[in-house]
Amino acid sequence: MIPEKKLIFELSKPGRVAYSLPESDVPEVDLKDVIPESMMRSKPAELPEVYEVDVIRHYTELSRRNFGIDNGFYPLGSCTMKYNPKINEDTARFPGFAKIHPHQPEESIQGALELLYTLQNDLAALTGMDQVTLQPAAGAHGEWTGLMMIRAYHESRGEKRSKVIVPDSSHGTNPASATTAGYETITIKSDERGLVDLDGLREAVGDDTAALMLTNPNTLGLFEQEIEEIAAIVHEAGGLLYYDGANSNAIMGITRPGDMGFDVVHLNLHKTMSTPHGGGGPGAGPVGVKSKLIPFLPKPIVSKYEDGTYYWDYDRPQSIGRVKAYYGNFGILVRAYTYMRTYGPDGLRRVSEVAVINANYMMHRLAPYFEVAYPGVCKHEFVLSGRKLKQYGVRTLDVAKRLLDFGYHPPTIYFPLNVEECIMIEPTETESKETLDDFIDTMIQIAKEAEENPELVINAPYDTVVKRLDETTAARKPVLNCTCG
């Protein structure tokens, strides 16, 4: 059995250090002379005392207990786990990008401003929007920013609209962002094709509709073919159309949200533009808008003077205000820009084509063994249902856990919520046919195991550092840190 991994706090031994600080070359200040005792720390923080090798071995061992894209195939639907190019990591670490301050004089950061300005324009071109803000730190943050702009737009016209419509297949952040922007959420059912039910939509819209939030292709990997009609229904009711761009990897250079009729778009650069997900973040969620919403963009944006120099443009009286300190997750924007310049417009189109070919190929090969939730052509991802395996007592969760024994990161499971025993697979364009075939063969084998030897699947995984964990006790009797209580 693989032994438990100690916490860094458990490695501590008084007297060890892992830091190196300079001697003070200015007079030592006696704390008591400058700070009243009531403001001084009464008891030092008990941080562990370790030396440098402890730090290196500890985090190296932790990294070995983690699975990233560089370790293997990661078909996590809705997350676009494509290869994270190494050049992006190098450029983001250039001192001219990593060691600069947001409040330096503008003339001393012209290179950074040019990069942001170009990225704003390139993302506007890609999405078919008129202007882009780079401030939001992630997709959900972009959603909220977009909805706040939609709110400001309606308010500027003297309209009070209180509802945001989302399909039942939408991501949880959509309704949660609507709440944060002060809206009530109306959830509409998808139809038997997995698409927006036009009649349901017609019933839901009204003069209280602020917006419809939609992902296209949607979270089932299906393109909303009636998007122009959907847009017309919402616009006729006086609402706006919000595009959740988490699924943009399917459509780059092929179709644009702006041309579909959307008014506001966010992109997840940590998906589509290959920036690493960092074990949970950081991301970047730029938001693009059509011209009628430009006045409401968060301030500042980056603009250009006639003489070709760049500046922070704060002169935006109708702006919704600021949404993020400074100017967004700049280090992520540098990576995304590097990526986009690696491909250029034709390359990005090819990215989407290959992502879609890969997904359709996998769907076709898996269809005889797993029920395809919505047969037909898919885009960059597709959804299976593991419901057939329930007769053997095997659930989708068990299939996912069994995949761990074969060295794969499992697909997204139990999302979207409107498909029973959901398995959502997104291969991305950076995987080879051989990788896909191996994974498919493994899935087929697990389907057979489920039928012939269900216990094998139900008790998986076997080869991981821990086995299945007790999540119920974790939530009932929370132990959330090792330092108190």
Binding site: V17, A18, L21, D25, P27, I35, S38, M40, R41, E46, L47, Y59, L62, R65, N66, G68, I87, T91, P95, G96, F97, K99, I109, Q110, L126, H141, M148, R151, G172, A176, T179, T180, G182, I254, H277, G279, G281, P298, G321, K324, Y327, F330, G331, R341, L348, V356, N360, H364, K401, T430, V465, V466, K467, R468, L469, E471, T473, L480, N481, C482
Partner: protein
């Protein structure tokens, strides 16, 4: 077909795969997209560059920025030039960490989960709070989330915030408050700290939270011991925004009676990078545990009884609760939380105190060197940042432009955010600044005014 180094599909692969699918061409796979909205032609975007060309282009852009290596920085205002121990970049460059998604599959994500659990432990230890989450976008958005939490917990709508709180954090608070229909009341300043009389008047029975930053935006340490009873007397929640590095020397927010503690972990080993990505932290009392926004990791055991870690208390989160979630946050700033954890592991119990003491030494030395007509604006105690009032008629922006020409990054122009502080400069002096740099900077500063 143009070949690309990240795309393995050959022409043969493509035709084999299309045959399996039963499609004649790639176009068939996009037949569900109406003709009328298909994009024809090439998008008007920046062109592709080869690896070598791209590196050259990126270096050229980078070289047009004045960086801290070449220009000693005296600029703070929330983003600081601290020393970053070299081990941090080595460890966060392990791609098992940085190329992973959120740890949804705990059996193969124990490394990240344990790292987050340790981060939560570090934040609790530093702040003396009971519960910390896995991170927020930054300190400023964390403050706005604190206001939202307080409003939910107290069922009140009034947020009282001191004007000594970071101006950008207050801007975000105002944006957020508009969405949540909260009332924001700003309290004035006296001698660089929150005006306590005004504060007391502002807090009433409708007040959900009082937001205080200490050290505040001017670097001054707030008298939280006097503020705390004013807040709790009205059953409002005391939210403190703190610089985590200052907690090496300053009293912990938990001991000062805070209900919610937020801040930005940038001083803990995170590059400035034009202000992002950094890492917000968020800690609360036990009572508020189930209202905290964002991801949380908890300890548990596996089927063999072995210790392990999982994402927990998820019934608060958007993927379960949708419109009823405590926050809309999904992706956070995990990799930067890892930076902060490795920083704290490296500094340890004595390092965090020593580095804080060095900041204190340097800033107090610098504050004493002004000879001519510039003087300290406030006499409240400060940590590593302070405000200088330049001689009458000085234009801080012009001064900063001249300083850049002399090779220094000057301080924050306070007039930009506080009209009454026109001609005032906020200076940060970290442990990275040497005596020579401080002396040289002040000489040049005094020369150019």
């Amino acid at each position: 077909m143009k070949k690309h180094r990240y795309i393995p599909m050959t022409e043969q692969d493509q035709s084999d795969m299309l045959a399996t699918i039963g499609a004649e061409s790639v176009k068939d796979l996009f037949s569900d997209i109406p003709e009328s909205i298909q994009y024809k032609g090439t998008l008007p975007m920046s062109e592709a560059l080869s690896e070598a060309e791209l590196l050259k282009h990126m270096s050229e852009l980078a070289e047009r920025n004045a960086n801290f290596e070449q220009y000693p920085s005296f600029l703070g205002a929330g983003i600081y030039d601290h020393h970053i121990p070299v081990v941090i970049n080595h460890m966060i460059s392990r791609s098992e960490f940085y190329t992973a998604y959120t740890p949804y599959q705990p059996e193969i994500s124990q490394g990240e989960l344990q790292a987050i659990f340790e981060f939560q432990s570090y934040i609790c230890e530093l702040t003396d709070m009971k519960v910390a989450n896995a991170s927020m976008y930054d300190g400023a958005t964390a403050l706005a989330e604190a206001a939202a939490l307080a409003s939910g917990a107290t069922r009140r709508k009034r947020i009282v915030v001191s004007k000594t709180v970071h101006p950008e954090a207050r801007e975000i608070l105002h944006t957020t408050a508009h969405g949540l229909n909260l009332e924001v009341v700003e309290v004035g300043i006296s001698n660089g700290v929150t005006n306590l009389d005004e504060l007391q008047t502002a807090i009433n029975d409708e007040t959900a939270a009082v937001l205080i930053q200490s050290p505040n935006f001017f670097g001054c340490i707030e008298d939280v011991r006097s503020i705390e009873p004013l807040v709790h007397e009205k059953k409002a929640l005391l939210t403190l925004s703190v610089n985590p590095l200052s907690l090496g020397l300053l009293e912990s927010p938990g001991k000062l009676g805070a209900d919610i503690v937020v801040g930005d972990a940038q001083p803990l080993g995170i590059p400035a990078a034009l202000g992002g990505p950094t890492c917000g932290f968020f800690a609360v009392t036990e009572k508020l545990m189930r209202r905290i926004p964002g991801r949380i990791v908890g300890q548990t055991t596996d089927t063999d009884g072995k210790r392990g870690f999982v994402l927990t208390l998820q019934a608060r989160e958007q993927h379960i609760r949708r419109e009823k979630a405590t926050s809309n946050i999904c992706s956070n700033q995990a990799l930067l939380a890892l930076c902060a954890s490795i920083y704290m592991s490296t500094m340890g119990k004595s390092g965090i105190q020593e580095v804080a003491q060095l900041n204190l030494n340097k800033s107090h030395y610098a504050a004493q060197q002004f000879s001519k007509d510039s003087k300290l604006a406030f006499d409240a105690p400060f940590f590593n940042e302070f405000v200088v009032k330049l001689p009458e008629g000085s234009n801080v922006e012009e001064v900063n432009s001249k300083l850049i020409e002399k090779g220094y990054i000057g301080g924050f122009n306070l007039g930009k955010s506080y009209p009454e502080l026109e001609g005032h400069m906020l200076l940060a002096v970290t442990e990275r600044r040497t005596k020579d740099e401080i002396d040289g900077f002040i000489r040049e500063l005094e020369d150019c005014i």
